[in-house]
C-alpha cells in the first residue's frame, strides 16, 4: 500500500463498502474474522452488489457470497496477475484515470530487464550476495541514490509506508499515449502476458471459466459509473511475497480507477483492536511514529543525512523535517535545540534486521538477556512456535503482561518440549515475571481500527487487584528508572533523564492521564496551543508532536477521538464519529474521485470535487489535497513539497503525485509482482524456472529445518498444502478466549478440516484424530471431514489442502496442540512477515506419539537446511 499509494493504511472505510458494486474478498475470511464490519458487505449485497470470495476454503464468508472461488493457497499473485492481464488484453482499463493518475506513462530506462526476459529474475540480481541492485529499475534519465556500502538497505519504502523516496519518484520522460515500448503500461502488458486464464487454472487450480467470470464481473463493475473494492487481511500478508500480493491488487485497482472513489479502494482488514495503531505509532523496530524510518547506524550519522535520505523534493514527504523535528521535540522538549540537532544523536540506531524472528534466533544464541512479551503469545502465535519456546527458555528474565497465565509464561513447566525431553524445567534459567494487565474496559485510551479511525474508550471500572494498564506500567517504569538515574552525569543516561516524562496522574493507582498523552501525540505550537493540522508543524523546533499523521486528533484542545455523534444525526460519511488520520479523512486520495478537471466522474460516484465559485475543493469528505490548489495548477520549476505536484495529481504523498503501477524504488524484491511458489510447496513454478522468490528471507540453521520442496528429493514426503487461520469463536493465540467458558464451548477442540477425498486417501475418520507432520513438528487434531474443502487440480494432478485453526495451546479451558508449531521461519524480505498461509505437510490417521517418540517421528521425515535453492 505504501509504495503504491503513499500511505500504509486502508484507502477506504468499512461503511463505504455499502457503496460498492462488487466486493472481492481475498486473503481474508471477513465474515468470521471481522463479523461486525461485515455488516457493510451484507448491506452492499442487499443493494445489489456482487460479493466474491476467493479462498482455499469455503468459509462463513463464502457461505453468503454470490460466488466462492477456491484456489490453491499461495497462488494469489498468479490469480490477480491473471486479472491484470485480462484488463490489459481486453482494453478494460479506465484510461481517463490511468493516464493522469498513475505512473503508466512513465518511461523506464533501457537497461531494465523483466522476469519474462530473465526467467524469474529482474535485472540487477547480485547472485553472490543474494539481493537486487535497483539501479536498472529506474525511470529513464533518473539518477539513483545508493549507498555503495549498504546496497541492501536502500529499499525501505514498504516498511515505512511510502514510496516517494529517491529521485525515482517523478519520471523525466512520459508518454501519455501509453505506446512507448518502455513505458510502464507496456512493461505491465508484457510482464503479465502469460498470466492467461489457462495459466491461472494450472497454477491456482481455478477453472478458467470461473476465473473469467471473476475478472469480467470486476471489470463490469468498475469505471465512471461503478466502483469495486478489494478486502484483504493476513491471508495476503503472511507470505514470502506478501507485499507483492497487495501490490498486485493495487495495480488492478489503479487500472480500473477504483482508488480514492466511493465504493472502491483496498481495505486492509486489521486482525484485532489497534493493530493499525501499532504500526502508526509502531511496535516495529525499524519505524518511528508516522511511518518515518528509524535512523540507521551508518547511513544516518547526522540529522541532515537522515532528512536528506528520507525526505522527498515533492509531495507531502517534502515536509519531513517538520514532522521529524516535531517528534524529537515531543520526546526531548527543551533539551532538543537546533544546536544539538534536536537530540538526534540520542535516537537509537538500527544496524540490520532486529525483527521479532531474528530476535528469537538471537535468544537461542544467548545474545538476548531479557524480553518483554506484551499483547503477544509467541509460544502459540508465532511461526515455528517450538523454536520460540526454546528461545524463551534461554533468557535470563522475561516479563509477560497479560490477563491470564499464557503459554509464553508457562512454557518452562508445560511446553511440549518438556514432554519430549528437548527441554528440562530444571535446566531453564529464565526468571518469568507474570504481571496482570488491565482490560480496555478498565482504562482510558484509544483504539486505532482498521480504517485509520481513532476511537476513544472510557474506563468503565477500576482494574481489580494488581491489574494495571500498559500506560500505567510504562509510565511508572520510566519514572522509577529516571529516579534511579537522577543526578547521573554519565552521558549515556542523559537521553533518559532529558525525556519529557511529566504527565498528570489520577485515580487510586496514579494512572497517567491518557488524554494528556493523546494531546502530546497531537502536538503543540510555540505557545503551547494544540496543533490543528500537520501542515502547522515546523522544522525549526518551534512545534512539538508525537506522530504527525495523528495531528488534529486533539485540535482545539478537544479530544476529537471521543466524538460519538449518532449516525442518524449526520450524513453517511459520519465525519463526526471519532477521528480518522490523516486530517479526519475517511477515503484517502479522494482527489481521484473527481476527473482531472475537478468534476465528479459521475453523479452516482460523486465524492469530492472542485468548487470554482469558492475556489476550493469540497465534497462529502475532507479533501485529500491542497485545499485551494486549482485542478489546472502547474507547479513552477522551483516549487517544493506538495506545491511541486500538479493540480491533477491526487497521490499527494508520492513524489510524482501518481499511483504507482510500477515501483522503481522502495521494494527489495522487484518493481512488479511476480508469481513465485511458497517457500515450501509440492509444486514447481510453471511460469519460471525460478520456483520461489529469490529474495525470501531464510534462516539456515539446525533449529529451523525446512521441508524439501518440489522438485527436490524428499518433497513427496509432504504432498499436501496446509493453511492456518482463525475462527470467529477464538481470539488469535487464545489468551483472550480459551480461558472463557462461553467461547471455549463454541469451539472446544483443535481440529483440522479435510475433504472427504483426502479422508479416504489417508484413512482419516470424521470426529477421530489426525497427526499432521512437517520437518519442525508433529501435532494432533480432531478431524472435521467437510465438503467445504475441495480438492483442486493443479498442474494436472490433484492437490489436497488441510485447514488448521491456530488458536490452541496448553493453557485454559480448551487446550490442544498449536498449529503454528508446524510452520517454517521464512519471511517476506520487505517487512519480515512470516509465511503462515501456505506450506506443505503430511497428514496421517490417529493421535501423535507421546514423549521422545514424538520427536523421533519428526526426525524420520526429510528436512533440508536452506530450502530449495531455486
Amino acid at each position: 500500500m505504501g509504495t503504491s499509494f503513499g500511505r500504509g493504511g486502508a484507502t477506504t472505510f468499512q461503511q463505504d463498502l455499502a457503496n460498492s458494486d462488487c466486493i472481492i474478498i481475498q486473503g481474508s475470511n471477513m465474515a468470521e474474522c471481522h463479523p461486525v464490519g461485515f455488516q457493510w458487505v451484507m448491506e452492499a449485497k442487499a443493494r445489489g452488489a456482487k460479493i466474491i470470495h476467493v479462498d482455499p476454503r469455503f468459509t462463513r464468508t463464502g457461505a453468503v457470497a454470490d460466488l466462492h472461488v477456491p484456489l490453491r493457497a499461495g497462488s494469489d499473485i498468479a490469480f490477480l496477475g491473471g486479472i491484470v492481464n485480462y484488463i490489459l488484453e481486453h482494453g478494460r482499463e479506465f484510461r481517463e484515470y490511468v493516464v493522469p493518475y498513475t505512473n503508466a506513462s512513465s518511461v523506464v530506462g533501457e537497461s531494465f530487464r523483466d522476469t519474462e526476459d530473465l526467467d524469474g529474475f529482474f535485472s540487477g540480481w547480485n547472485a553472490e550476495d543474494g539481493y537486487y541492485e535497483a539501479d536498472t529499475w529506474q525511470f529513464e534519465g533518473n539518477e539513483v541514490e545508493r549507498d555503495a556500502d549498504n546496497p541492501k538497505e536502500v529499499a525501505v519504502g514498504e516498511a515505512h509506508g511510502h514510496g516517494s523516496k529517491l529521485s525515482g519518484g517523478r519520471a523525466p520522460i512520459t508518454d501519455p499515449t501509453l505506446e512507448h515500448p518502455r513505458c510502464v503500461f507496456q512493461i505491465l502488458k508484457r510482464h503479465y502476458a502469460r498470466y492467461t486464464p489457462e495459466m491461472v487454472e494450472e497454477v491456482c487450480g481455478v477453472p478458467r471459466d470461473l476465473f473469467v467470470e471473476v475478472a469480467e464481473t470486476l471489470c463490469q463493475n468498475s469505471g465512471r459509473e461503478r466502483t469495486s473494492a478489494f478486502c484483504y487481511a493476513v491471508g495476503w500478508t503472511q507470505h514470502t511475497v506478501g507485499v507483492q500480493y497487495i501490490r498486485t491488487a493495487a495495480i488492478i485497482q489503479l487500472l480500473l480507477g477504483n482508488i480514492g472513489r466511493p465504493g472502491g479502494g483496498i481495505l486492509a482488514l486489521r486482525g484485532h483492536a489497534s493493530i493499525q495503531g501499532s504500526t502508526d505509532i509502531p511496535t516495529l523496530y525499524n519505524v518511528l511514529p508516522g511511518y518515518m524510518p528509524m535512523a540507521h547506524v551508518e547511513q544516518n550519522e547526522t540529522l541532515e543525512q537522515y532528512l536528506e535520505m528520507n525526505g522527498s523534493p515533492s509531495g507531502f514527504w517534502g515536509h519531513l523535517p517538520a514532522y521529524f523535528v516535531s517528534l524529537l521535540k515531543a520526546w526531548w522538549g527543551d533539551a532538543a535545540t537546533s544546536d544539538n540537532d534536536f537530540c538526534f544523536d540520542w535516537l537509537p540506531r538500527i544496524s540490520g534486521d532486529h525483527s521479532a524472528y531474528q530476535t528469537a534466533l538471537d535468544m537461542l544464541d544467548g545474545k538476548v538477556k531479557g524480553y518483554f512479551v506484551v499483547g503477544e503469545n509467541p509460544a502459540v502465535g508465532s511461526s515455528h512456535s517450538g523454536l520460540h519456546r526454546k528461545a524463551l527458555a534461554n533468557l535470563e528474565w522475561l516479563v509477560v503482561r497479560d490477563f491470564v497465565e499464557i503459554e509464553s509464561a508457562s512454557f518452562w513447566y508445560d511446553a511440549p518440549e518438556i514432554e519430549t525431553g528437548e527441554l528440562r524445567t530444571a535446566d531453564i534459567g529464565t526468571e518469568v515475571f507474570l504481571l496482570p494487565a488491565a482490560a480496555h474496559t478498565e482504562k482510558d485510551g484509544t483504539f486505532t481500527n482498521t480504517q485509520r479511525l481513532l476511537q476513544w474508550h472510557h474506563k468503565a471500572v477500576e482494574p481489580i487487584g494488581d491489574q494495571r494498564s500498559e500506560l500505567w506500567f510504562y509510565y511508572h517504569l520510566g519514572r522509577i528508572i529516571r529516579e534511579k538515574l537522577a543526578g547521573s552525569t554519565d552521558p549515556r543516561d542523559a537521553s533518559i533523564l532529558s525525556l519529557t516524562w511529566e504527565y498528570p496522574t489520577e485515580g487510586p493507582h496514579d494512572d497517567p492521564r491518557a488524554d494528556a498523552v493523546l494531546a502530546e501525540i497531537n502536538g503543540f505550537d510555540a505557545e503551547g496551543k494544540p496543533l490543528s493540522a500537520y501542515t502547522e508543524m515546523k522544522g525549526d523546533g518551534s512545534t512539538r508532536g508525537g506522530c504527525w499523521i495523528y495531528t488534529g486528533c486533539y485540535a482545539g484542545g478537544v479530544n476529537q477521538t471521543a466524538r460519538r455523534k449518532s449516525g442518524k444525526d449526520q450524513d453517511w460519511v459520519a465525519a463526526e464519529w471519532a477521528w480518522a488520520w490523516p486530517a479526519n479523512r475517511r477515503i484517502i486520495y479522494n482527489r481521484a474521485s473527481a476527473d482531472p478537471d475537478g468534476q465528479p466522474w459521475s453523479e452516482r460516484k460523486k465524492y469530492v470535487w472542485w468548487d470554482e465559485a469558492q475556489g476550493k475543493w469540497t465534497g462529502y469528505d475532507v479533501p485529500d489535497f491542497t485545499p485551494d490548489m486549482r485542478p489546472d495548477y502547474v507547479p513552477p520549476p522551483d516549487a517544493k513539497a506538495e506545491m511541486a505536484l500538479r493540480g491533477d495529481e491526487p497521490f499527494v504523498l508520492q513524489g510524482d503525485g501518481r499511483g504507482w503501477l510500477y515501483v522503481p524504488a522502495g521494494l527489495l524484491d522487484g518493481p512488479l509482482p511476480t508469481h513465485y511458489e511458497p517457500h515450501e510447496s509440492p509444486f514447481t513454478n510453471p511460469l519460471y524456472s525460478q520456483n520461489a522468490s529469490p529474495l525470501r528471507q531464510r534462516f539456515a540453521r539446525g533449529a529451523n529445518p525446512y521441508n524439501p520442496s518440489a522438485p527436490d528429493p524428499g518433497a513427496d514426503a509432504y504432498p499436501y498444502v496446509f493453511t492456518t487461520y482463525r475462527l470467529t469463536e477464538h481470539h488469535t493465540a487464545g489468551g483472550m478466549s480459551r480461558h472463557l467458558p462461553y467461547l471455549s464451548e463454541l469451539q472446544p477442540e483443535f481440529f483440522c478440516e479435510v475433504s472427504p477425498e483426502l479422508a479416504d486417501e489417508r484413512g482419516l475418520e470424521h470426529g477421530g484424530w489426525a497427526t499432521i507432520v512437517t520437518s519442525r513438528a508433529a501435532i494432533e487434531a480432531r478431524v472435521l471431514v467437510t465438503e467445504r474443502i475441495v480438492p483442486l487440480t493443479v498442474q494436472g494432478r490433484t492437490v489436497h489442502q488441510v485447514g488448521l485453526p491456530y488458536h490452541w495451546g496448553t493453557k485454559g479451558l480448551s487446550t490442544g496442540d498449536s498449529a503454528n508449531d508446524l510452520l517454517p521461519l521464512a519471511l517476506d524480505p520487505n517487512v519480515h512477515i512470516q509465511e503462515a498461509k501456505a506450506s506443505s505437510c503430511d497428514i496421517r490417521p490417529g493421535r501423535r506419539p507421546r514423549g521422545r517418540e514424538r520427536a523421533e517421528l519428526v526426525e524420520s521425515y526429510p528436512s533440508v537446511e536452506k530450502g530449495r535453492e531455486q
Binding site: 451484507m42 460466488l67 475462527l727 470467529t728 462461553y742 470426529g767
Partner: protein, 256 residues
C-alpha cells in the same frame, strides 16, 4: 398490555458468528453447556436446552449450482414464544406465565421442577438444568424489555439477521423480505412460524428459512400438545356423558 413483541430471524443474513449465543449467556448468566467437540460442522452446542437459549445450527449441503458444490446454511434458533404455549398451559405452579409483552417466561423462584412443560413443548426448547432441578429457557430478555432495551441476542447480531420488534411489524417486514428474495430468484425462501393458524397459533419468534424446516432441526408442523385441549375436553365430556348414559341404561335395564 403493551404490544406483543418478538423475533424475526432472517437466516439469509446469518453469518454464523454465534454472537447471539454468547451475548445471551453473558446477559442472562446462563452457564456453559459443556465443552464437547460434536463434529457437526461448526456447531458444538448441539441444541436448545436449559443452558443454551440461542443455538446456531450449521448445515452443510450440496448446492445446486455454485462452483464449490456446497451450501452452508446457518440459523440461530430460539424459544418460539408461542401464542398457544403448551409449556405454560401445563405448568401446575404458574411459574410459566405470559408477560405484558406477549412473551412466555419461567419464574425461577416458583418453578418446582415437575418437568411437565418439557414434553409439552413441540420444539423441544424447554429443559431441566441438572443438578439445579428447575427448567430454563429464553425469556426474550424480560428484564431488558422492562428497561426499554433490545434483547441481548438481537443487540449483538452484527448483520440484523435477528430482528426484534412488535410482532405485527416484523410479520409485515418478513413478508416483504420473502417477496424481495423471490424476486431475486431465491425461490426457496419461506417463512416458518409466522402463521397464526398453525399448531401453536403463530410463534412470537419466527424465521425466514432457505430449506425445509427439518433441515434446520425444526419440526415441520409443530402442534402444541394443548392445542386441542378445549375440543379434547368436549370430546371427553361427550364420551363421558355417553358412558354415563350407557351405564345408567344398563342399570335401568338390569332393574327391569
Amino acid at each position: 398490555m403493551t404490544s406483543r413483541v418478538g423475533f424475526f430471524t432472517d437466516t439469509t443474513l446469518c453469518i454464523g458468528c454465534k454472537a447471539c449465543e454468547v451475548a445471551c449467556k453473558e446477559w442472562n448468566h446462563v452457564p456453559d453447556d459443556g465443552l464437547n467437540f460434536l463434529g457437526r460442522s461448526y456447531d458444538n452446542t448441539g441444541e436448545l436446552n436449559a443452558d443454551t437459549w440461542r443455538h446456531v445450527a450449521f448445515i452443510e449441503q450440496p448446492a445446486l449450482a455454485p462452483a464449490t458444490g456446497i451450501k452452508w446454511l446457518m440459523s440461530s434458533d430460539v424459544c418460539k414464544h408461542c401464542t398457544r404455549a403448551a409449556c405454560l398451559d401445563v405448568c401446575p405452579t404458574g411459574s410459566l406465565f405470559r408477560t405484558e409483552f406477549g412473551t412466555v417466561v419461567v419464574q425461577e423462584d416458583i418453578c418446582n421442577g415437575c418437568g411437565y412443560c418439557i414434553p409439552a413443548c413441540p420444539y423441544g426448547v424447554i429443559a431441566k438444568r441438572e443438578p439445579d432441578g428447575r427448567v430454563w429457557k429464553c425469556t426474550l430478555c424480560y428484564d431488558r424489555l422492562k428497561g426499554g432495551m433490545t434483547p441481548a441476542c438481537a443487540q449483538a447480531c452484527p448483520t440484523e439477521s435477528i430482528q426484534f420488534g412488535p410482532l405485527d411489524v416484523l410479520r409485515g417486514r418478513a413478508a416483504e423480505r420473502v417477496s424481495e428474495l423471490h424476486g431475486q430468484g431465491v425461490t426457496e425462501a419461506r417463512l416458518y412460524g409466522d402463521d397464526p393458524n398453525d399448531g401453536v397459533e403463530g410463534a412470537g419468534a419466527f424465521f425466514l428459512l432457505l430449506d425445509e424446516p427439518e433441515v434446520y432441526g425444526l419440526p415441520p408442523d409443530p402442534v402444541a400438545s394443548t392445542h386441542r385441549l378445549s375440543s379434547m375436553w368436549r370430546t371427553a365430556g361427550t364420551a363421558g356423558a355417553a358412558f354415563a348414559l350407557g351405564l345408567a341404561a344398563a342399570f335401568v335395564g338390569r332393574r327391569s
